[in-house]
């Protein structure tokens, strides 16, 4: 093919190809002065050919006035010098460099852009470097990495950082991966649990989702190291765990961990139970570059479990106490009933009486019961003509209901066996009133009439002991049992404020 062209023709053709290439090229002297730049390069940088030819490269392009400019220049210069010294092509994968743009009013502004550049040394027959060729691609739209000094951030490492390090690869791939990255970031942001990405050994917040923001009262934590962002966590162990995860690369899982957090400015620390994981993030070389934080607030679950334990403990206490009560009734009933038949009958009726008072309390959701209802319950088997109930409405607290239920059961059973209810004509008169309105007391009398002649018992049985004990011990009241010849008289006084309190 060369045969068809003269050297001059070929030279002209190559010049035209250089000039027309869609790739951006600039040709430099070994001491980095500009020999030539093609049209794509000029278009890309906004420079005019006449302004830059013959200029030192970094006089023509200085990356603007920003603080980061000297570092940007240093990186490009280092890559060019490396290509020159090693006489090998050098890739500068990712570099920030600002270029000027002239506004309509004539002012010049610099815009920071991200580039990927290849520096190729051009050698003569002796192998000496005669020129350096820079080929550059603008990859600003592929990277939203905000800081020029950030090489690989934790976020990049997990959602496509390696892509940016291979920025020369096909742009379609980049665009596809960029959308992938955006989709992943979107997923993090919408996750119901809290998510944060901490970068570097000081655990700077690179990204956190709204759920994380809510956890910490929406403070401005972006870019801050965690010890500065969430100072109240000092001494709670979390910083030390993060340090360990970063140093060892071992993930950490926290279960129902108690964290004291400030959820709004000036608020007191609020205890929260959290399930969470600290997952180390590694770069392509395997070094830990950050920590992925993800978890849930399980405070409501932990508190519900605590309440449930309290309720189970309380239920257990009540069940065991009830069993102990039943046991007591069984043993003491057995002492006064040697015959198994009468034992079974008496024991059963006592258990049923206990059960009935429980029913009364269940109907009121354990708020209490009416005195008259308890009396009716225990005496209704004997018919209304034989029982006279006379007194005002009195509301009783649960403890008094349980005690009086047992007491009236014992009195009614005793009357049926030995007293007024044992004969056909006998009656029981029950009268009550409330004495002393300032410190109310229930004063009640149980009088039996028309029954057989009464003789005082030889020894105190279970029933009378139970009555005395219940009134004095449980209800802080007083009781008198009078075995009058005409019939038993029981007079009892129970303070009501006490029973209402319980």
């Amino acid at each position: 093919m060369n045969d068809h062209f003269t050297v001059e023709q070929l030279d002209a053709g190559l010049r035209a190809a250089f000039e027309a290439s869609p790739n951006a090229y600039i040709l430099l002297t070994p001491d980095l002065h500009i020999l030539q730049a093609n049209q794509t390069y000029l278009d890309l940088t906004g420079a005019r050919r006449e302004d830059i030819l013959g200029q030192p490269l970094f006089a023509a392009f200085d990356s603007g006035p920003a603080e980061t400019a000297p570092e940007n220049v240093r990186q490009v210069q280092a890559s060019l010098e490396k290509a020159r010294e090693t006489r090998q092509r050098d890739h500068l994968a990712l570099v920030h460099f600002a270029t000027p743009r002239t506004l309509d009013d004539g002012r010049q502004v610099f815009k920071e852009r991200v580039w990927s550049a290849t520096h190729t040394p051009i050698l003569n027959a002796q192998g000496e470097v005669t020129m350096l060729l820079q080929h550059t691609v603008d990859i600003t739209h592929l990277s939203d990495t905000p800081r020029a000094d950030t090489t690989v951030t934790a976020l990049d490492a997990i959602v496509g950082g390696s892509l940016l390090l291979r920025a020369q690869s096909v742009q379609e791939d980049n665009l596809r991966l960029e959308s992938e990255r955006n989709r992943l970031v979107e997923m993090f942001m919408q996750a119901p649990g809290f998510v944060a990405i901490l970068s570097g050994p000081h655990h700077r917040f690179q990204m956190h989702n709204p759920a994380y923001g809510q956890l910490i009262g929406h403070r401005d934590i972006a870019g801050k190291p965690i010890r500065e962002a969430l100072p109240e966590l000092a001494g709670q162990g979390f910083f030390e765990i993060l340090d360990t995860v970063f140093e060892t690369g071992e993930p950490y899982e926290g279960r129902e961990s108690l964290a004291q957090l400030q959820r709004s400015p000036d608020a007191r620390l609020e205890p929260l139970y959290l399930n969470f994981i600290y997952q180390p993030i590694r770069d392509d070389a395997g070094s830990v570059v950050g920590i992925f934080v993800q978890g849930h607030d399980v405070t409501a679950n932990v508190e519900a479990a605590q309440r449930q334990k309290l309720m189970i403990d309380e239920l257990n206490h009540r069940v065991k106490n009830t069993l102990a009560t039943v046991q007591s009734i069984a043993i003491q009933t057995a002492r006064s009933h040697v015959d198994p038949h009468t034992f079974a009958e008496t024991f059963q009726s006592r258990i049923l009486a206990l059960s009935h008072t429980h029913n009364l309390l269940t109907q009121s959701h354990w708020e209490g019961a009416e005195l008259r209802a308890i009396l009716q319950h225990e005496t209704e088997a004997y018919g209304p003509t034989r029982i006279s109930l006379n007194g005002p409405p009195v509301s009783l607290a649960p403890a008094a209901v349980l005690s009086l239920g047992m007491i009236f059961h014992e009195l009614a059973t005793n009357a049926a066996k030995y007293g007024a209810l044992h004969t056909e004509d006998g009656r029981v008169l029950i009268d009550w009133a409330i004495a002393d309105q300032r410190a109310p007391r229930l004063v009640l009398s149980w009088r039996e009439i028309g029954g057989p002649k009464v003789t005082p018992p030889d020894r105190r049985g279970f029933g009378s002991r139970l009555i005395e004990r219940n009134i004095r011990h449980d209800l802080a009241g007083q009781v008198d049992l009078v075995y009058a010849p005409d019939g038993l008289i029981v007079e009892l006084t129970v303070p009501l404020d006490r029973t209402l309190d319980q």
Partner: protein
């Protein structure tokens, strides 16, 4: 034969009168002299400090309060005691775990063994 527990004065703290009656009956059968029973913490504390006592049986949950002030008063005097509870030993705070404990409902043998263990006496 004299029972090793006979003549011992045993404080009973128990809010349920039927359960208290059972404990008294069991104690009397063993030859002990029941003291109390106290039906609330204040009464129990006063007896724990002032009454002449060899041992005590303490219900852990007394009318909605925990019995530990009574236990502390007894401990200060060097009077041994047994907890009775429906919760079991797991319901006790760490401070009192390891103390002799019986579970409700209880048998006469359980009460006798617990008292002998607390008093450090052997069966004769």
């Amino acid at each position: 034969m004299t029972h090793p527990l006979s003549g011992r004065r045993v404080l009973v703290v128990e809010d349920e009168s039927l359960v208290a009656m059972l404990l008294e009956t069991i104690l009397e059968d063993m030859g002990c002299t029941p003291v109390g029973p106290a039906s609330n913490i204040d009464e129990g504390e006063a007896m724990a400090r002032e009454a002449e006592l060899d041992a005590a049986l303490l219900d852990v949950n007394v009318a909605g309060r925990q019995v530990f002030p009574v236990a502390a008063a007894l401990k200060a005097r060097g009077v041994p005691f047994v907890f009775s509870t429906g919760y079991g030993e797991s319901g006790l705070p760490d401070e009192w775990r390891g103390n002799t404990t019986i579970q409700k409902p209880f048998t006469e043998a359980a009460i006798r063994n617990a008292l002998m263990q607390a008093l450090g006496v052997a069966e004769v």
